[in-house]
Amino acid sequence: MIYLIIAGMAIATIIPRIIPAAIIHKMNFRPWVHRALQAIPFAALGALIFPGILSVYEDQPFFGLMGGLVAIVLSFIGLHLIFIVVGAIASVYIMSLTF
């Protein structure tokens, strides 16, 4: 039964992923559609970050918010992505020890 559910979940995740690959060669988009598609990565980043970041740590929306601010500051300084990630983890870890 569980394998049946897994098979169903697999189909449910594969369909949205591969349909664009299957149809893209047949589609010719107008310039405004191209602009919308080019904006999607930035839009997706925004929608993925907020408000989800507030639920990083159970019952402590403040931890996620502060961790996010640390990540913003470290990105502004121009650090490599790996240090931004490590820095944000460290900041949340320290907060979880302190508060």
Partner: protein
Amino acid sequence: MSEQIDKTHVRSKKEMVRHGLVIGLPIILGYLPVAITFGVVSSQAGLTLGQIGAMSVFVYAGASQFMGVNMIAVGAGAIEVIIATFVLNFRHFVMSLSFMNQLREHSLIRQLPLALTLTDETFAVASMHTEDGKEKNGIYFYTILFLSAYAVWVLGSLLGGILGEVLPERLSDSMGIALYALFIGLLIPSVKQELRVGMIAIVAMLVNLLCSPFMSTGWSVVMGTIAGGLSGIYFLKEDEHT
């Protein structure tokens, strides 16, 4: 990483593979604790190692897998789980459409492995490195980026299933910020270059926030992403030449 790319030098396949691994490192770091946690949670919920592995190999979608295991544990029906998975993962349709449009000139055979292993994270990193992807051997860069993330996800979830709690709970909880930090670290450099890009992200955030009381997380992320994308029709108007 803003290493100077020598325009006259076309990087070899091997160089592109190495570059893909380096660029993909933050995803690997972010996936490992989540994958291990998935393995731990699933084995506690009573899934066998084979089922854990099968889920990571064939479903390969973090949030959906956690939700699926939860629903299985409370005895939800198959149809319920499958529909919830579809709703949660529909955002990948929008992302895949954007990315496959980027890969237009490649054949379906080369697009398929990337489409199948597209996640929030691989899509986001790849989309911020389209300059690398446009190079002659760019497809190798994308492919190794996507496949290394996939491998770590599968291996990590098996590791969690075998070993149980490998990471101290406080540390794995704190590592929940990792993927958000990754997204922020990807977004900020583009915002620094082009403020309009930040406006697109803010539109997406606000629409997601406004929608979230009325619908599931899956749909509100989709709404936010589409709204942000549509705002790009206006915000990206001036760079028609790119």
